[in-house]
Amino acid sequence: MKWWPDEPAPGDIIRVRIGTVYHYGVYVGPEEIIQFGPPPTGSAHRVPASITVETATPEEFSCGAIIECGKPDRSEARRRRPPAETIAAARARLGEGGYDLLHNNCEHFAYECVFGEHFCAQADAVRRRWNSRPILNVYLAPIPDDAVGILLHSEERMKQLRRTGNEQLRKARTYDWAVLEYALARSFGCDAQHLRFRRNRFGKWSCGAYFFSLAHTGGAVAVAVSNGPVGIDLENEADFAARYAPRQAEMLHRIRTAEETDTDFLSLWLKKESFYKAGGTGSFRPAAINTAGKSALVFRCRTLPGLRAAVCGEKLSAARFYLYENGTARSIQSDILRSE
């Protein structure tokens, strides 16, 4: 359907822009338009129960805005009712109520009269936009002392944990998975107990349509979930410095490719690990991973000082950050300090 500010003909579907939404109606003649409720001008609160199909003059319908006339495409032209039938359908519903902003609004009414179909392009477009939005959510969490006792829904993960001898490692892996189960529910509305998790031969976990990456360092975990490939790595800055000082310049030189211009060893290490984890194949060889020209976000968090992390992924532009504690997460978008 295309919309033009043309002179409408009887039986045409018409609309007018009121603020940020469109108000729809059926054109009957120069002095009559049939609409489902008055235009949403915001000057008065419209109680749905009081909204009915009614007639209006063009001035009442448009509120001074330009009336646009719908021009059906070929397929719509074949489906539309003849004008007399459209007007009869509209008149037959005068006085009818049952208005609902999402499910039975003025656009639904107009489309039903013209095409015999219950449809609202505005709501449909918003719903499609919401359901196809990029998602990349990062959950940071300090590991509580009782983490090792947490029961997970994933039997596959529980099996892996039973084989993990190191207690600190088992605690971290238990907790990052607990956060993952929460993250999947919060981000995608899915229940972890109904998901099937698998590991490839390189140790990379996956579960169908959802992508995720896990990381842990002394006392904290980071979990990234997304509807596209994602990788995350996390380090404690002081521990990392103690491990590699005073060889950081040498290590930077060893892992940096010719195209990379990074000057900080930890940030480059984190980026390379995040890309490696997003890919999930092969073994980690930092010198062989070229991050030049690729997007990754290196960041710190005011809420968890002393940590630095990097996250990469197809949906990086949509990255959102949360702090997970005591079984729930809150947004910490404004606490994130981006390093580059």
Binding site: P40, L102, R133, S331
Partner: protein, 85 residues
Amino acid sequence: MQLSRHEIMERLRDILLIADDNRADFIERCTEDADLSAELGLSSVGMLYLVIAIEETFDIRFENVGIGDFATVRDVIDYIEAKLS
């Protein structure tokens, strides 16, 4: 889906942040008393986006809803809570 009021608030915050990233500071700190239109600056299409996002997030269906039905965040949470229970 059984969610605590706190969890409903946090998920609603997610939606508000997606709708308007520029107000992250305010949205992360806003309480249930926040006015959707005056303080959060939601326009008509913003309200449409909000209610559709809520339907999809909480797997509920808004019924007999008009644009002016929700003045504050509390109004929205009350509605969601009632629907979920």
